[in-house]
Symmetry: C2
């Protein structure tokens, strides 16, 4: 990234990114990660242009083979001639490597392909963390004209599932083995999944894991029209990947035909707005508990001239 690129303003960066300049695209995502005024400027520019990309979230426990699976999906998308953006999100790591994917060397087979944009996400200052930075980064890719965005999350914590679950289609990857399906259920993955993948399906226990998933889906069956299909894959050989891709396309068609795609996206935007409001008032609370006004009112409380609720009312309501 040249020094000149760093100094260009968000509107210029977005123009360049829409012309295919990957350096400008990377810089825009960094601005989003950093938060603050320049991130807001990026948001104002990208938001009206976004809403065209289709997003798939890929999540599951460590060792389930998510990265290899993601790599296979990239190859399929590229094989069809489409561009694809990949965001690798690890909320448990304060710095997940910026513009590089670190040890995810296998994805480097796509590193020289201009049609693939791979990026790890970190929050370098964004107050809302990755749960809020990720949808903004998706909109950057979307506004740049990239039609497919894969969001791979590492681990199965609450934030990871929230991020993966905010895609149009959420793929939950489960490794074969006794109890893994139950673990996925406990982690809340059952509710988030549109599609289940039992990866490493050539290993012992795969059929059992499939049966466990079927049983748990049966138990939690509601009157939903879509029951998450279970796809068996071996990402390392490519077995089952075409089936997975077809299942993602089926889910996309299902959502589109019933008007659910727009409905779910609207629900996610409403949820994001509530989250941003919440983050903004939390920051307000933090600010109001600093500085001379707080110290003066605290002193009034300590000398019992003012009770804590009256002091808080003055701090918050001004």
């Amino acid at each position: 990234m040249s020094r000149r690129t760093r100094e260009r303003d968000p509107a210029d960066l977005l123009d360049a990114a829409r012309q295919g300049d990957r350096g400008s695209l990377a810089r825009l995502i960094t601005l989003v990660e950093e938060g603050g005024e320049r991130a807001r400027a990026v948001g104002r520019l990208t938001f009206p242009l976004a809403g065209n990309a289709y997003t798939a979230g890929i999540t599951g426990p460590t060792g389930s083979g998510k990265s290899t699976l993601t790599e296979r999906l990239i190859s399929i998308i590229r094989g069809a001639g489409d561009e694809v953006g990949v965001l690798a999100v690890d909320p448990s790591s304060p710095f997940s490597g910026g513009a590089f994917l670190g040890d995810r060397v296998r994805m480097q087979q796509h590193a020289t392909d201009e049609g693939v944009f791979i990026r790890s996400m970190a929050t370098r200052g964004h107050l809302g963390g990755l749960a809020l930075a990720t949808p903004e980064a998706i909109r950057v890719l979307d506004a740049a004209g990239i039609p497919w965005v894969l969001v791979e999350t590492v681990g199965v914590g609450q934030v990871e599932i929230e991020i993966a679950g905010s895609a149009d289609t959420t793929v939950v990857v489960v490794p074969p083995g006794s109890g893994d399906a139950m673990q996925a259920s406990k982690a809340g993955l059952l509710e988030a999944a549109d599609i289940f993948v039992v990866n490493k399906a050539d290993r012992p226990g795969a059929a059992e894991t499939r049966r466990d998933l079927e049983f748990m889906l049966h138990l939690s069956a509601s009157d939903l029209e879509w029951t998450p299909p279970i796809v068996m894959t071996v990402a390392s050989t490519g077995d089952g990947i075409d089936d997975l891709w077809k299942t993602i396309a089926d889910h996309r068609a299902f959502l589109a035909e019933r008007g659910l795609l727009e409905k779910r996206r609207a629900q996610r935007l409403a949820e994001e707005l509530r989250h941003v409001v919440s983050q903004r008032v939390e920051h307000l609370a933090y600010e109001r508990c600093q500085g001379p006004d707080f110290d003066r009112l605290l002193n009034d409380v300590l000398e019992r001239r003012l009770d804590p609720y009256a002091a808080a009312a003055r701090l918050v309501d001004g």
Copy 2:
């Protein structure tokens, strides 16, 4: 409680409570539990009068014998001729029985003693939950002129420990038995304790539990001047209770001599003020995400005329 009492205003209720009217005292605590404007009025009246009562928190896992221990402490305080207030707090129960202690029948030996005021706490509407309602209820008892307040919490969750730990002296009760000391440590009780009690000390494993606690205190030993003493009691027979009472008095004297009592109370008030500010802005966020303004701005977002951050700024900053 008569209908007439219910309709009296907080100032009249406090006057009556200070004259010893227990019905008025109970009504004031109910107003605190309910939150809202009348709770604020109670706070404004009681806060300037409070700061004289000494509070002891009593916490520990279910089955450690906290209630029997509390009952013994009540008897000692009453034996010295002092009045005592007891708040039984169970944040895990949405309604813990209002003005009655439910199945805590053993405490009924004090039920007809006008010098003992026993009350279960519930949050009937207080937005800050029991963590904020309890210090307010303590101030009601304090302002009514009661010199001793015992706060018994049920269970060892984070809120329970926060509540018990906000007393002047925090007593952590551990039952004898393999691993119980370690469980107490994991629950965060080690840090909260000013005094440990190994109750049911006549049972097998009591000496071992004491050794475990000593070992863990040794491991966590900092340069604090006060190392939590470990008192062995059998609350059911009364063994060791005088020793516990003397240890509470020792801790009180230690705090007073070093100016730590005022310092710790000031820290707790600052913490309470931050908590109230935080609760107030959370409520603000909740309010801002309701109603026609929110719906209108959300609609602007859904039609991509406004990005979520710009919409949130208008909602929060007005």
